[in-house]
Symmetry: C2
Subunit: 144 residues, 2 copies
DNA sequence: TCTCAATTAAGAATTATTCTCCTTTAGGTA
DNA sequence: TACCTAAAGGAGAATAATTCTTAATTGAGA
């Protein structure tokens, strides 16, 4: 995702293009791992050493409100952010805080069809996401 | 859920049966709305006015660790707890913090079958929960 | 280039949770 | 039934994550 594209996103969302906002949004795209505010601050501090913590929270809120990013539901007492705003699912590691995206169009269609037929009483569905809990297999190294 | 049954659960989980633990676990079952620690404290303060906040957090942690309750994934910066520990799904209201349980055995079987066939590369699935975002229809009152 | 509403910086305040230390108690054992 | 002690709880301080306030800076429209 180029700076140009990020500027375009901010512009389309009617948000002023500021260096802080560019840096924060770019951090989310580059990290691509559902970072926390603290992760983002750590990431941008090299190129933007004087961005205030309060600014980061304020910018993150603005990005969420303007549908450029989303908050991720977790059991943590810390907010994680997602740069992917189209619907998808998440793999949650039961051993760590790792969260991975999971895209599966076949599954999406299945769920769409299922709930079109069935529906949920007294509830208007807006979005269906899977929370898939489990363990990531280790990459390389000694097999356990 | 009777006090007797709750005592049984604590005993089976190898947890000492204390008045605080009984009160907190009963609160979760009675409230039955994915309460926060603060909700629970408010609920039990009438019958147990001197239970310490730190105790509540400690007891909740013990109940989670011993699989008597579960934490609910949310975007809030506050932990919600669930008294239902068998697998089920959640309806999340996009307008409030309301979270409702959603059980659907047909759906469970569908998902089970789907992922048995498909699987997820480099990931061992332990549990699949649906996060269904939407709006609850208003009960009674003027139609909007 | 100028202007100003919007944004940011800085740091204080708030909220939710965790930690520490001392007191109390659940329940096992004799 | 009484005793004992490891475990649990109370109280309050500490920590961490986020929000708020005020003054300074700035993006972008005119």
């Amino acid at each position: 995702m180029t700076v140009r594209e990020i500027k375009e996103k901010l512009k389309n969302a009617d948000l002023k293009i500021t260096p802080q906002r560019l840096a924060i949004l770019e951090a989310i795209y580059k990290l691509n791992n559902h970072p926390t505010a603290d992760n983002i601050i750590d990431y941008i501090k090299e190129t933007h050493p004087s961005v205030a913590v309060g600014t980061v929270y304020k910018v993150l809120d603005a990005l969420v409100e303007n549908h450029l990013i989303k908050k991720v539901k977790t059991e943590n007492n810390v907010t994680h952010y997602d740069g992917i705003i189209y619907n998808h699912h998440h793999l949650y590691c039961s051993e760590s805080d790792r969260i991975e995206d999971y895209m599966d169009e076949e599954l999406d269609e299945l769920l769409e069809k299922y709930f079109s037929n069935k529906g949920i009483k007294n509830f208007n569905i807006e979005e269906i996401k899977l929370q898939i809990n489990g363990r990531f297999k280790k990459r390389g190294g000694i097999k356990k």
